[in-house]
């Protein structure tokens, strides 16, 4: 019995006087693809930032791969951090580097591959996110919003993470690219047993990924399960999110 990849117990978060999360529990097993949905401002990004250790929870405990996030020396924390890849909501590309160097950066930091190998790896990652070799020389400021997302995804994939955390990966992508993004995630999930947690508002993506869905509302995880299970829950937010006419149409096509 291996420990869950993500294990959040009784997490509470407070900004100033406002509680963003209260007694939040979430377990994600290895190989799961979990979509985190919730209203805008419900604290999805905040939860993601806590999972990757950028933010200390006010109360509660988070474990990744069965290990605590903090403590145990720099090397242990660093090794733990290399096991997951993150796609930030706004890409967070290094603006002074071009696309190639952005993706190559974590590989160079690792310091165990030569430049030729890094070049081939970067080109493979870029082609996985459907970018062309000529895009590699562009600067982040010269990219469209969707391309920024794809480069950021390529960078998140650079170190072959076991856990991938994606904050609104398909926002700003055209439907075609969203589909190929879904294909890529499913493929990685199948080939490498990747665990994926993604924040999304896009029902098409949700339905196509056949992922489990975690609903974040009222400051905790309201429900966790397949789309059908979630839709059976009677709650105003879920009714609004999944059972509106627009959502029905999206879900029926899949």
């Amino acid at each position: 019995m291996t420990a869950p990849v993500i294990d959040i117990r009784d997490l509470s978060t407070r900004f100033g006087e406002v509680w963003i999360h209260r007694h939040l529990n979430l377990q994600v097993e290895q190989g799961d693809v979990v979509a985190l949905v919730g209203g805008s401002g419900s604290g999805k990004t905040t939860l993601l930032r806590q999972i990757i250790g950028l933010l200390h929870p006010t109360l509660g405990d988070i474990r990744l791969f069965g290990e605590p996030l903090f403590g145990g020396g720099v090397h242990r924390e660093q090794a733990l951090r290399r096991r997951f890849g993150v796609l930030f909501q706004h890409g967070a590309l290094f603006s002074a580097f071009n696309v190639f160097d952005n993706v190559a950066f974590p590989l160079r930091e690792l310091g165990c591959f030569d430049e030729a190998m890094i070049h081939d790896l970067v080109m493979l990652k870029l082609s996985m996110v459907e970018l062309l070799p000529r895009h590699a020389r562009l600067m982040p400021a010269e990219l469209s919003g969707g391309m920024v997302k794809r480069v950021a995804l390529a960078r998140a994939l650079a170190l072959e993470p076991e856990l991938l955390l994606l904050d609104e990966p398909t926002a700003g992508l055209d439907p075609d690219r969203s589909d190929s993004f879904v294909r890529l995630v499913r493929q990685l999930d199948k080939e490498l047993g990747l665990t994926v947690v993604l924040v999304t508002h896009d029902l098409d993506t949700l339905a196509a990924l056949e992922s489990r869905v975690a609903v974040l509302a009222e400051q905790h995880i309201l429900a966790l399960g397949s789309i059908e299970e979630i839709m059976a829950v009677d709650h105003p937010f879920i009714r609004n999110f999944f059972l509106s006419d627009r959502s029905r149409r999206a879900l029926e096509t899949h």
Partner: protein
Amino acid sequence: MLPVPLATLELLGPPGERSATLSGAWTLAGLRNAGESLERALADAMTEPDLAWNALGIDALDSAGAVRLWRAWGQALPLALLSRPEHGRIFDRLAAVPQDEAKAPPPQGPTEWIIALGRPLLVLRTVLADFLALLGQLALDLLHVCRHPADMPWKEISANLFKSGVRAMPVTALVGFLIGVVLSYLSALQLRQFGADVFIINILGMGIVRELGPVLTAVLVAGRSGSAMTAQLGVMRVTEEIDALATMGVSRSLRLIFPKVVALAIAMPLLVLWTSAMAIIGGMVSAWSQLNMSHNFFFQILPRVVPLENLWIAQGKGFTFGIAVALVACHFGLRVRPNTESLSANTTSSVVTAITAVILIDAVIAIATRGIGVPKL
């Protein structure tokens, strides 16, 4: 604890008809753990072209492992390869990676050195042209607010006055006072040898009021407010805030640049006065402790040896330096490209250029006013 992932390669069979057996975890972690010995085995395998590869033993294959094998195979699938179907897909994806079109550097002609020489000149030309355009735009803005006084950005001017004027008072006072003390102390040491103690007031008065006060203030303000202005405009460009302003029909030069220039043009002369006063007080304190010169005596002599014209020259310098520092800061702020490297480079250039410009202008003014305000002997 999970077993440590490891990528392994075994070469079996007699030389000539050997086969390579791959096993373990051909992943990033597996490659790292295998280290040098694996590299040696791969290099060994690459010497034999028609090696038969058996990859059925690979438990996990990620793109790092696949790329490593791909490179060992010379960027093509080997003729004899046994692999699991799910791993085959990864290799297919590798084969489909579009090749980077060769980007050979353009041939170097015999005129290359002329081009290399000309490039900085062209950059200089665009910098000067931009600067001129900025000046022109400011002149137009000035004309505009004269015609439509309601458009005068009072709030921004007052905010800038507070930020670059009032907030700069403590640091300019401290630096001015200390410079005054040091200058007076060193002069006193020399003057005492000749019994020419009284002349300390001449030296301090003329030196500080006419030269040191304005230049010192300008250097401090360039480092303090000039860099802040450049960084602010630069970040606004990086985050597209300037574009947002433009789409709302707000003139960036009228709202962002004009107030900065006006604020420094007003604040600088006042700061010059303040800094010079502090420096003279510092000098007076030092003269009192070193030469036992009383404050009353100091204040009696000072107006006599420093004609009033010097104060006006100092005010004129302050006004000019203020405009120069603000203009240079805004110019470099607008040149920032949307990346962090450019932001830091332009902030540096802003401060360096502003200080250089101040000293150049100071030299020009010194020559132009050489007959004014100097006490006759």
